[in-house]
């Protein structure tokens, strides 16, 4: 999961434009993620965060712009081909397979050839990270609580051997204790060198956790910078932190 050259540009999104049918939602979103860092993308409800991630992963076809991953132009690749290269998204709303067991969900995460080769290592690692999943590995995912489902969703993402792990709405609908637990997990993943792009509605949390922050509004880039600097910007404090 560790990217060789720490600090090298891993994901480069340039002037991305996308939308649904005839409705354009994104009007030129740019963001860069360096290897080994934790970056966040924040914005109000409906700002276009999820749409940005869909356009990056290929779930919707970009109308314009470019996505470069690990030096390769992947803009037009299918979603599964990007996942196989290690561009991994844990989607909003978890999107588990409710009728399949925990372990089957994890196995599907490791479907691509690259991830399959390290299946046993990853399974052990993920179970060490979330012992609860190991206890319940034969249980159907649909019977889990929201927090457990989010753990499983992240674990399934880790099974894909991500070169970048993108998480849409880590904290949504979860109790504060559960969020704290997940934050600890993400920090340890980052310590190990995993590159993370986090999308969060909870701007406090996002700014506190990450190295670098992008703020988008109404499908446009609003502001960006090292998280501590962004947190100090008056326009951000006013609009997003309620200060």
């Amino acid at each position: 999961m560790t990217e060789g050259a720490n600090g090298a540009l891993l994901l480069d999104v340039e002037e991305l434009e996308a939308g649904y049918d005839d409705v354009q939602i994104l009007w030129g979103i740019s963001l860069k993620v360096k290897a080994g860092t934790m970056t966040t993308l924040v914005g109000a409800n409906g700002a276009g965060k999820t749409t940005t991630l869909r356009a990056i992963t290929g779930a919707i076809r970009p109308m314009g712009g470019r996505v470069t991953f690990g030096g390769e132009d992947v803009t037009r690749l299918s979603t599964h081909a990007k996942a196989a290269r290690g561009l991994v998204l844990v989607p909003e709303g978890r999107q588990l397979y409710p009728d399949m067991t925990v372990e089957e969900n994890l196995e599907m995460g490791a479907y691509a050839a690259r991830a399959r080769k390290r299946y046993d290592d990853h399974l052990e690692k993920v179970y060490a990270l979330f012992p609860r999943l190991k206890e319940r590995r034969r249980q159907r995912a649909g019977t889990f609580s929201g927090g457990e489902q989010q753990m499983l969703a992240i674990a399934r993402g880790l099974m894909s051997d991500p070169r970048i792990l993108i998480i849409d709405e880590l904290s949504l609908g979860l109790a504060p204790v559960v969020v704290q637990q997940l934050v600890v997990t993400l920090k340890s993943l980052k310590e190990e060198g995993t590159t993370i792009l986090l999308v969060e509605q909870n701007v406090h949390l996002a700014l506190a956790l990450s190295d670098y922050t992008y703020v988008i509004a109404e499908g446009h880039s609003f502001t960006e910078g090292p998280s501590s600097e962004v947190a100090a910007k008056p326009e951000v404090r006013q609009a997003y932190l309620g200060l």
């Binding site: 299918s78 599964h80 996942a83 999107q95 479907y111 991830a115």
Partner: protein, 286 residues
């Protein structure tokens, strides 16, 4: 009394084959939300594959079953990429029209090639006699093979990687893509399996009854009834539904003329839809 019981038992044996046919229909629906209106025509293809195979090589129809599976699977994959792939995720009418036109093409070509006169596949197997009623050997064999194939399908879907991928794609296609699963390929494989199941059931039916190019319609109707009994999209329920339909037919046979069979089937179809819209055996969904 023993006569009625024997008729019901025989109905169960034949019903297992109906269940196998319905499994093909319900697998395709469950995975890709396509109702395959060429299902009956594909059953007929299976009948003719086994007919020509036994005629040309002299082997037993049962030895030909694996060949039918392979031919059906390959035909299914070809049909998927030529036609079905274009209508995945589009309004249901599109896939109905696409598979209906396929149905017309297959029946048209088959009629041109083989006319609509009746064919039969000669198979002789000793029956089992209980008191003075004999259970036909071919019916017993067909039920055993249908049960075995249903079991293999279950093991495939639950214990192999491609089988699990089919279940994942059926459950959430977007998530499967994000997991690195090439979902179009998985859909093609699932369609191939559904067609293979329909072909094998056709081959087995050919060992039981005479058939024509136009026989598919009746078996397609039975598959729909079975599917509604078993819960749409539920392969395990399909087998139970098939057995249930066979039982009803077996129960009715001593009392009603054969021409009443479709009426009974349709009646059952409507009653089930009213009383159990999700299928009588829907609870068995894995």
């Amino acid at each position: 009394m023993i006569g009625i019981l024997a008729s019901v038992v025989d109905g169960v044996l034949v019903g297992a084959v109906y269940g196998l046919a319905a499994m093909g229909l319900t697998l395709i629906w469950g995975v890709m939300n396509v109702i395959n209106l060429s299902h009956g025509a594909i059953i007929v293809l299976g009948m003719f594959v086994v007919y020509f195979l036994t005629g040309a090589t002299g082997v037993s129809a049962y030895v030909g079953i694996p060949v039918v599976v392979v031919v059906g699977f390959v035909a299914g994959i070809i049909i998927y990429w030529m036609s079905v792939n274009r209508v995945i995720g589009r309004p249901i009418l599109m896939s109905l029209l696409a598979t209906f036109s396929l149905n017309m093409i297959i029946i048209g070509l088959a009629t041109a090639a083989w006319t609509t006169s009746p064919y039969n596949v000669p198979v002789s197997l000793p029956g089992i006699t209980v008191q003075n009623y004999t259970f036909t050997g071919t019916h017993i064999m067909a039920a055993i093979i249908a049960g075995a194939i249903a079991g293999i399908l279950y093991l495939f879907l639950h214990y192999t990687r491609p089988g699990k991928a089919i279940r994942a794609v059926a459950s959430n296609r977007d998530a499967a893509e994000l997991n690195g699963i090439p979902t179009r390929q998985v859909l093609a494989m699932a369609f191939g399996l559904g067609v293979a199941l329909a072909c094998v059931s056709g081959a087995l039916i050919a060992t039981l009854f005479p058939f024509t190019v136009l026989s598919g319609g009746a078996y397609q109707l039975k598959s729909f009834v079975v599917t509604v009994l078993g819960g749409l999209g539920n392969p395990a329920g399909a087998l139970l539904g098939g057995i249930a339909l066979g039982m009803v037919e077996g129960l009715a046979t001593p009392f009603t003329p054969v021409s009443w069979t479709p009426i009974i089937e349709f009646g059952l179809f409507v009653l089930t839809l009213i009383a159990f819209p999700r299928g009588i055996f829907a609870f068995t969904k894995a």
